[in-house]
Symmetry: C2
Subunit: 244 residues, 2 copies
């Protein structure tokens, strides 16, 4: 069958992979993905053919998957978290017109906003935005505009890719933009290595977050004006619950 | 053990429930939740004690779960989609201070933004907002502000609760607000009964969406200015891929 499954495997542990995602991997003759994600599922499929590629060159990776599928192999392209949120479903579907004989199925998984949110409590209980601080493919001006709009809308905000070697000060820059609209005491949180060994979490204020050093394995949460710390949890009420 | 698991069961099918969520339900002596969600997992646990409550009265439902846990029962509170996105994790954690002896664990699942997004392709591939059109707990003015801020930030937008008997014209009202900032040709989509029997989908323009009649079982997606329809899929590129 000429088929590519784009599979979200969740935060990492096998217990977070849905039966539907497992079934897609079972059917696949070839598992493809970034080395780290392949390593996560390798123990489940010790004998399955894999091909791994570095973090960049996503389009090349997608093209290779579609070529394998055109040649008759069933392929599963693995993504950490969800297949559709900063994952590979987009780049792969963009190449589809060149591979009309290949069927694509997108299999969802829990993205870091959900799996990290669960570790902190319920930071995204009400309306929220997800914004990546990576300017590899997006001009920083666009990221700034989105941060400002998200703050003006009083959304809870989840930040992906908050830092990297090249972007060590990006979280601070983001906090400075958010602080134009949000109070320094706004309840925030971060989770590192979600659902993996060495998982860490912290609930803190926006002013404290500005001074925090985080790495690329960290997901950051900024509360709305209604978000509160309750028994160490980060909790955003659902609207105005007094009405209930 | 005095424990409540707040469990996201995903869009509905058993194949979308993670092993971690299943394990929480296995451990639970009592399954609690809105009737429709209990019915979804009932076949998996025909003999397990359940208590169901109507859609409203969430706080009452959470209090009952915490009381059961305090009395020594292990409880699993089920939520469709994710436990943290318009789910029960928030209301339950808000009551925690009254039940210091009860341990709470939040188990994530795929919310409709992810499971519906996978049906349409990759509408939320880049930065996005999730907004509920329900004004049961949120003033409509707040919803309007968030729609406008999301549009000004050129986010992809996922709309929950786009309609109900009482709110038949809310999607049209939302589209009118978005049309102040977004082009009428903006690529949009909707999915009905995600992952359940009778699943339907449509990719259409924002102008067409304004005229569309949807129900409360529908999740709506509005693209960013970069979102395209490709072979019937709704696809948002990841930033400016020319850079790749």
């Amino acid at each position: 069958m000429n088929k590519v499954y784009v599979v979200g495997i969740g935060p990492g542990g096998a217990d977070q992979i849905t039966p539907r995602a497992r079934e897609a991997m079972n059917r696949a003759e070839v598992l493809c993905g970034y080395t780290v994600y392949i390593d996560l599922v390798r123990p489940l499929y010790p004998d399955k053919e894999v091909f791994t590629t570095p973090m960049t060159r996503e389009r090349e990776r997608c093209r290779r998957c579609l070529e394998l599928a055109r040649s008759g192999r069933t392929v599963a392209m693995l993504c950490s978290g969800d297949a559709g949120v900063y994952g590979m479903a987009g780049p792969l579907l963009q190449l589809c017109p060149e591979f009309p004989e290949v069927e694509v199925e997108v299999v969802p998984g829990a993205t870091a906003a959900l799996s990290g949110g669960a570790v902190l409590g319920a930071p995204l209980m009400h309306d929220f935005c997800v914004i990546s601080l990576s300017d590899l493919l997006t001009p920083w001006e666009t990221i700034e505009t989105r941060l400002l709009c998200a703050a003006r809308g009083d959304f809870s905000i989840c930040l992906y890719n908050p830092s990297s070697k090249k972007r060590a000060d990006y979280l601070r820059r983001a906090c400075d933009i958010l602080l134009r609209e949000k109070a320094p005491g706004t309840v925030c949180g971060w989770v590192r290595n979600i659902g993996r060994e060495g998982q860490e979490r912290r609930v803190l204020t926006l002013a404290e977050l500005r001074e925090e050093t985080v790495d690329m394995f960290t997901t950051v949460f900024i509360g709305s004006s209604a978000t509160r710390e309750i028994n160490g949890w980060m909790v955003t009420p659902r609207g105005y619950e007094a009405k209930e």
